[in-house]
């Protein structure tokens, strides 16, 4: 009796396994699969919706995984089960490009879509903060130069913003920022933390001598609770800032632009983040936004060229386009023409210049 039961059970499992083969047979993917940056997500979703509603293709499915997470999934290989496009709020790194090549993703088309500023925002109910990049570095790094002087590093002792810079308010440092999967994090540590660290002469010298050690100092953020990794959901950070006037959030300018009734941007090196300040380059923390496309999937997954055409059309990414309405800073004319031509030709990224 027991033997028969066991036999029956195994037969059942076998049948189940086989029937999944039936399911797999029917599911051939007919929609575009996009992953990647949470900063580019609001823009990509708007383009996707437009694309889906105005053409006969299905609306692309978009997941917000963070630039790093997205590139990891993207570079895992070519094939139906891998994403077609990944959004990134920073340029692809050499190590990621190598990983792509080694997994067979050899032809990638890089498309720059516009610019975005990284803002440090807090609730409207508090006073706007006037920070310098050096302040940001001292407030957030895990190890900082010894306040007493000398060329050594100590664990970050600063508790309040006033400790960092006497002109700043006396509230506890509480910063909600992106995790390592986020491109905003990478861009932030490069633009803000590195520049802040360079203000210390000996660290600037270290950078020339041993870039890796310098990066370890500048890029490592504190883990004692003053810096909280708040996940890939930037909308949630806006909500938390609204609830907690003492906190500061780090995210892309579009989230500030779309929520000016709740939050305000802090001054960085004397410049307040605004559309024009970022476009002109006055605001120091600005970075380009990209997405990357697998050339191998074009012509095989329905709709990809249409999506690319929609994204690179003037009515989307132009100065009067709907993406600018959402807070993206458009590229200058010459750059737009260049990238549109590259996309039309499907020019492959060969090396990171």
């Amino acid at each position: 009796m027991a033997k028969k039961t066991v036999l029956l059970a195994t037969a059942l499992v076998f049948i189940f396994v086989v029937s999944t083969g039936v399911v797999n047979a029917q599911s051939a993917r007919d929609y575009i699969s996009i992953v990647g940056s949470s900063t580019v997500y609001p823009f990509a979703t708007v383009v996707a919706e437009q694309f889906g509603k105005t053409t006969r293709y299905k609306t692309p499915k978009i997941e917000s995984t963070g630039s790093g997470g997205g590139l990891k999934l993207f570079c895992a290989g070519v094939g139906v089960e891998h994403p077609d496009i990944t959004n990134a709020s920073r340029r692809i790194k050499k190590s990621e490009l190598e990983k792509c090549q080694s997994n067979g993703v050899t032809e990638i088309v890089e498309v720059k879509i516009g610019y975005d500023g990284i803002v440090l925002a807090n609730s409207n109910r508090a006073k706007p903060m006037k920070l310098s990049r050096k302040d940001i570095f001292l407030a957030l790094a895990k190890e900082v130069p010894d306040p007493k002087g000398g060329e050594k590093l100590v664990a970050n002792p600063y508790r309040t913003w006033k400790d960092v810079n006497p002109s700043l308010p006396n509230i506890r440092i509480e910063v909600l920022g992106p995790p390592p999967t986020s491109g905003t994090r990478d861009a932030f540590v490069e633009l803000a933390m590195e520049s802040g660290a360079k203000k210390f002469d000996w660290l600037a010298a270290l950078r020339k001598k041993d870039k890796k050690a310098f990066k370890a100092v500048a890029h490592t953020l504190r883990e004692d609770g003053a810096y909280i990794e708040a996940g890939e959901n930037d909308n949630l950070i806006v909500q938390k800032l609204d609830a907690n006037p003492n906190a500061v959030g780090i995210f892309g300018f579009s989230f500030l632009d779309q929520n000016t009734d709740k939050i305000q941007g802090s001054y960085v090196d004397g410049v307040q983040p605004s559309f024009d300040a970022i476009a002109s380059g006055d605001y120091p923390l600005s970075r380009p936004l990209f997405f990357y496309v697998k050339k191998a999937h074009i012509g095989v997954i329905p709709g990809m060229e249409g999506y690319l055409a929609e994204f690179t059309s003037e009515k989307a990414w132009g100065p009067d386009g709907y993406l600018a309405d959402k807070g993206m800073i458009p590229m200058p004319d010459a750059e737009r023409y260049k990238y549109r031509a590259d996309v039309a030709k499907l020019r492959v990224l060969t090396a990171l210049k």
Partner: protein, 433 residues
């Protein structure tokens, strides 16, 4: 000896009567009794109060979402703007912008014009496109169309925004407020029943976002769950209750089933992720996988409820069947099962109601992407209503808070209906043996 000593001596001589001792403490005891009863009543009142606060706060936030502000536009379907070929990709946004400019001819300047265009939702262009595609004969004619207003305008009309907010703080500047007032004077702006909310899928724009996609996904997922869990659950319960010999194995199975009913739902999500997605390679975000995970979750509940229903059938019924010569299987199928069926159905409905409200396991299997199209098949990417609520809850726009609450109202309405059906069924078929 003084008087006090005399009294004390007196008391020592005659022992106190029990009844006096009891009477002395009686008032205190009655008071304690009253307090205790009050605590009990208070506890119930607190619970019901919390329930009331929950409902009132959510309904209060949500019911405005059932109305949406619409603006009336006199649209001239200008052949020059639309072009001749391929009407489907013509410049409908341009058409909308032109119509607005015609309505407010003295608006000049780029930023002012942009502010004007922002009064109307981006969905207006899609609406016009649908109209033209359905009836291309409209080209060249002027039609009066009611289009959805932008969500900021909607919030203002519903009274959520403080009109006195200055340009920098509010989402609408003074010029826009003036235009909106002008539109109200002309009777071109009004609130109507929000059918968009029920028919369309998710969207980045709050005024175009709806629960149609999520509701459809929920129905598909629950169908899969019901088809799989009801037969298997009932069959397993029948076997375990009637046919299995009472040995260590069946004891283990019973403990096992009871435990499964109490395992946190997120562990089932991990199972779905590890086994269904990774090992079997089923498509992500599909109602099929969601249904499978929910089946595994609902199965223990159905088994337990069915077993209780089977146990409640009295032995006399069974003996009666056996007495006229039925075999055990016949007895179960003909006599016991039909009588236990109402209880099984009740258990199934309750299990389905629980599955309807589950979010965590479905997050794990990927039903958390931005999906606009309404799913039609079991392998289309989709989301379910609770997950849609979770996704919208993160959006800070005021209009999304309203819609999230409205979606919760719809979900709660479904649950109340299902639970009421279960209770009615139970009451109707409850038999006193």
């Amino acid at each position: 000896m003084n008087k006090a000593d005399l009294i004390r001596a007196e008391e020592k001589k005659t022992p106190k009567r029990t009844i006096d001792v009891v009477r002395a403490g009686l008032a205190k005891r009655y008071r304690a009794e009253g307090r205790f009863k009050l605590y009990g009543l208070g506890a119930i009142i607190i619970s019901l109060l919390c329930l009331a606060i929950l409902f009132i706060s959510i309904v209060g936030k949500g019911y405005p979402a059932f109305q949406q502000t619409f603006i009336q536009l006199e649209v001239f379907f200008d052949p020059a703007v639309l072009g001749q070929e391929n009407l489907s990709s013509a410049n409908f946004p341009g058409l909308v912008k032109k119509t607005l400019r015609n309505m407010f001819p003295d608006v000049k300047g780029r930023s002012d014009k942009r502010a004007l265009y922002q009064l109307v939702s981006t969905g207006a262009a899609f609406q016009l496109r649908e109209m033209i595609l359905k009836d291309p004969g409209l080209v060249g004619k002027t039609v009066s169309v009611w289009v959805p207003a932008d969500d900021d305008v909607d919030m203002l009309m519903k009274g959520h925004f403080d009109r006195k907010m200055s340009e920098s703080g509010g989402r609408l500047n003074n010029k826009q407020l003036a235009w909106i007032d002008e539109l109200s004077r002309q009777g071109k702006i009004e609130k109507r029943f929000n059918t968009i909310f029920f028919t369309s899928g998710d969207s980045r724009e709050p005024e175009l976002a709806g629960i149609g996609g999520a509701a459809s996904g929920t129905v598909l997922t629950l169908v899969v769950t019901l088809i799989l869990s009801f037969p298997i659950g009932v069959a397993a319960a029948v076997y375990l209750e009637e046919f299995a010999s009472k040995n260590r194995w069946t004891d283990l199975i019973e403990v096992n089933v009871n435990n499964l009913a109490a395992v946190p739902s997120i562990v089932f999500g991990l199972l779905g992720l590890g086994v269904f997605l990774n090992f079997f390679g089923l498509p992500r975000s599909a109602p099929l996988v969601g249904g499978l995970v929910l089946t595994l979750m609902t199965l223990p509940i159905i088994i337990i409820a069915s077993r209780a229903a089977l146990q409640s059938v009295p032995p006399s019924i069974r003996e009666g069947a056996l007495g006229v010569g039925a075999s055990k299987m016949q007895m179960v199928m003909h006599h016991v099962l039909p009588l236990a069926l109402p209880g099984m159905l009740t258990g199934t409905i309750i299990g389905m109601a629980r599955a309807l409200g589950e979010t965590a396991p479905l997050l794990m299997i990927g039903m958390v992407a931005f999906i606009v199209d309404i799913p039609t098949g079991f392998t289309d990417p989709s989301t379910v209503l609770p997950v849609q609520i979770y996704l919208w809850a993160d959006s800070p726009e005021r209009a999304f808070v309203e819609r999230t609450s409205a979606a919760i109202i719809v979900l709660l309405a479904f649950l109340i209906i299902m639970n009421a059906a279960a209770i009615i069924l139970r009451k109707k078929f409850e038999r006193r043996w």
